[in-house]
Assembly symmetry: C2
């Protein structure tokens, strides 16, 4: 497993102070699924009346836990709920044994917490293809249930880490009708998929009272402009999971038309998404790709992803090379509509190309100086229509090769 | 520009002996477009009666030379023809000046060789976005025309190189009705797109007598199973060009039903395609991805490309790690049909996974030993239908990062 990687140079200074969310309690334990000397299981207990929404990987080889969560999401429900997550083993591509492990864990949690098994959601993150030793997890359940506490979210953020170099958390507190409503979330992920340690996992909690359908619509919509707009290496996990739980403990009812709540939730989701990029394997630069003037928003997104996923652009950024020619290439290959002679490109505020040619303002020395920044913004205007998109990624460095070539040895 | 890279460890032992093709003459020169102390222009003269076919990049930002070639391909034609290629500057994303450069070069070649400008094909490969100093090329034309000779193909293969670490050639001689028919080709490319030095270029010549429509159908069909099945880094050039010229000098008429000729042409194209992969930037392993049991050939190709382009799989191969879990991931994310529980995976002859689980035959030590080979074959069976595909790629190493991060500095 090698020695732990140093903390990403793009990490926030510290883990944020997250507010307690009424109706949510956390506990963590060292189950020894794979790691020694650290926590690797998180249990979350959710009060009766909590509604749950989720977004999941679209991979055709998704894991048993993901399929189980997808089957359970939906429908307003009176009883309480629970989330159990283990790190170290993804329980992915494990066949019938994998399904049996999910059933064993959810049944044990349900019994211990007195909630229906249909309201127990699990995620597993870690090595693909190895059977999950689920008895190590169920053996901890009495201990976990006995220590559930409202203040455990920071410990939970650490228990779900795999190759992450820092724990990830974000929160917002807003006033609605003079009352406080809180949103707090944690995430793990280091690479769109970390090496064998597949998976981005995100758990967000709010004390707003929300109907399940409203919660689901909101998280699905916001996912399109947050977690779906980040990429580290274009690879996609078998286990990506985002769960959002609304306990209603604040007593404040939030509907689909509450723009203030939706914007606060968007900020939490975007903050967590950016933290995943900032922990991208080997990352030394945080990169925003902004596309305007596309034929549609969907076409803008295709161009932005093509640029963000290009190994040639990502290596150029690592080398601090303002190589706008590669941006032309990535737009050309994307498959979305482009007109070479209307294409303009900026690095930060510096115009590199205008309407299909090198810009008359082009200044190689200033561009090279701009590339020294830790945050790089590349803006492409297609000159075709009103479609826009923003995508976030990181650079591709020797660190990425080291982490991924040497991982299992 | 840095010092020249060492020759790829995957290079053939030597440049092959290529036969002279009746009706084809070559000359090269040092025009000083960008490089000093090496040839950078190739001129090919093609006898009257030659038919021409071509395949080009589908990039939306394709270069002026590509657009010019595409407009000229097609139609049987009595007069002679010519091909002029420069290295060092791609004349891509150069706007109206780029179009003017193509017109200047083709007009000068046409005048000097006494062929219509509509029968002069050009390619440019090198830096994107810088105006082409075409007067340096036209200044060499008298000298080039005076030295045209049938035996110059090996020198031509060197003149079109950019970041290539070795020149690339292949040939076949077959008997048709008791007479010899020859095919000889050269290629350049190092990376699906080399860094700023964008472009894969391929020129193939035969002395068969062929109608243009037959030649075009054949090269288009064969391209799908040869050059379209290689990938180094998933990036696509603005300038990829394949030209095929049939001079008829052998006096042997070849029709679309001549399987022997088509197979020989396929071997030449596949050999050149593999040489491009073997010169992939930083490559230390030659990798074949074979997919069977897919719902269709097209779906098999999507899975094969998803595996071949995955940075996680390519870095694992560089690290000699038999990481079959990442193959599961790449199949899952491809978008083509897959059933996790029918999926089987082999590395060479070693069964790694069978029907959605780790194989009972799995032997980590033998798998690790297999990964020491220079050629790696990964075989995936979807268990769904009769669709098959084969794709070739190379590993992703520190060498790739070095070449592409540091290129312009």
């Amino acid at each position: 497993m090698g020695k732990p990687a140093p903390v990403s140079p793009l990490a926030p200074a510290a883990f944020p102070d997250l507010p307690e969310i009424g109706g949510v309690r956390f506990a963590t334990a060292q189950a020894g699924v794979r790691y020694k000397g650290r926590t690797d299981v998180m249990l979350v207990s959710l009060a009766p009346g909590t509604t749950m929404a989720g977004v999941f990987t679209r991979s055709a080889t998704r894991s048993a836990a993901v399929l189980d969560c997808q089957a359970k999401i939906g429908g307003d429900s009176a009883p309480g709920a629970a989330i159990l997550v283990n790190s170290g083993n993804a329980n992915a591509f494990t066949g019938r044994r994998g399904v049996a492990s999910v059933e064993a864990v959810t049944a044990a949690v349900a019994e211990r917490l007195g909630v229906p098994a249909g309201r127990v959601f699990t995620s597993s993150t870690g090595v693909i293809g190895e059977p999950l030793p689920h008895e190590r997890i169920t053996a901890c359940l009495d201990d976990l249930a006995g220590r559930l506490a409202p203040g455990g979210i920071a410990d939970a953020a650490r228990a779900i880490m795999t190759t992450d170099t820092f724990p990830k958390g974000a929160s917002e507190t807003i006033a609605i009708d003079g009352q406080s409503v809180r949103i707090a979330g944690i995430a793990k992920g280091s690479g769109m998929i970390a090496p064998d340690m597949a998976t981005m996992l995100v758990y967000i909690f709010t004390d707003a009272a929300m109907e399940q359908a409203v919660l689901q619509d909101m998280v699905s919509a916001l996912n399109c402009s947050t977690f779906n707009c980040i990429t580290v290496d274009s690879d996609t996990s078998t286990s990506d999971t985002l769960l959002l739980a609304a306990t209603g403990a604040s007593g404040v009812r939030v509907t689909g038309t509450n723009v203030g709540f939706m914007e606060a939730l968007r900020r939490v989701m975007l903050d967590l998404a950016h933290q995943v990029v900032r922990d991208g394997e080997g990352a030394t630069k945080f990169v925003e790709i902004s596309v305007t003037g596309a034929a549609s928003d969907a076409e803008a997104h295709i161009h932005a992803k093509s640029i963000a996923n290009s190994p040639l652009i990502k290596t150029a950024i690592a080398g601090e090379d303002p190589n706008w020619g590669r941006v032309v290439m990535a737009v050309g290959k994307s498959g979305a509509q482009a007109d070479r002679d209307r294409l303009s490109i900026w690095f930060g505020d510096l115009e590199m190309a205008r309407e299909g040619e090198i810009s008359p303002m082009h200044d190689e020395a200033r561009a090279a100086a701009y590339m020294k920044n830790q945050t790089i913004v590349i803006h492409v205007d297609l000159g075709l229509g009103g479609g826009t998109a923003r995508v976030w990624t990181c650079d591709l460095t020797h660190g990425y090769i080291e982490i991924n070539a040497d991982y299992r040895s």
